[in-house]
Symmetry: C2
Subunit: 113 residues, 2 copies
């Protein structure tokens, strides 16, 4: 595998775990799938529809999101919003994220003797 491609695959691995956290965080405000995609992309999270949509369905089936259909427009949209369970998972993941950031900084940024 060429060097750049390998680096990219590690970056993808690094980002993967944070997608749930990003989706939960963004859905503290209700969004339908495509709008959420735009919100995440605007914040620099380059996630694809075919990754995000199954993730939303999974999070809903796990009770971390709620959903409702908005049929007031010509085309109905399914709006997702974080649930109370989702908020509690998000809080745990954010705590973990902060801990990891400190650990990574301690390991990778300290001077080597």
């Amino acid at each position: 595998m060429p060097e750049a491609e390998r680096t990219q695959s590690y970056i993808t691995e690094l980002r993967r775990g944070s997608l749930v956290l990003a989706a939960l965080g963004a859905l503290r405000k209700p969004h339908y799938g495509y709008a959420l995609l735009q919100v995440l992309q605007d914040k620099g999270i380059a996630i694809e529809a075919n990754t995000l949509y199954p993730l939303l369905r999974r999070l809903e089936s796990q009770g971390l999101l709620t959903s409702r259909w908005d049929t007031s427009e010509t085309r109905p949209h399914k709006f997702y919003c974080i649930s109370d369970n989702g908020k509690s998972v998000m809080t745990s993941l954010l705590d973990e994220w902060d801990k990891m950031s400190d650990q990574i900084a301690a390991i990778c940024k300290e001077e080597t003797p």
Copy 2:
């Protein structure tokens, strides 16, 4: 799946991607496998030997680590150290990490309207 177990599985997913970064960072100084495990655990990275050792072999086979045998002790130890390629991947991953941290903070910590 019970709630606590689900949260734990997301935490594991979150941590998984950062293990390569942590291992590369810690191996700016040479360590053999078990000593590296201790270093990481001391820093709060709860990685198991049966996750770390295959990871080290993979990173070496990809040219991100170098290794040498130290046979001066009764039991020979294989010491790993980050390579120049590994340093360049580590720098890219660290940049990405910092970007992700800013994005996660922007998405999950900002006030919802």
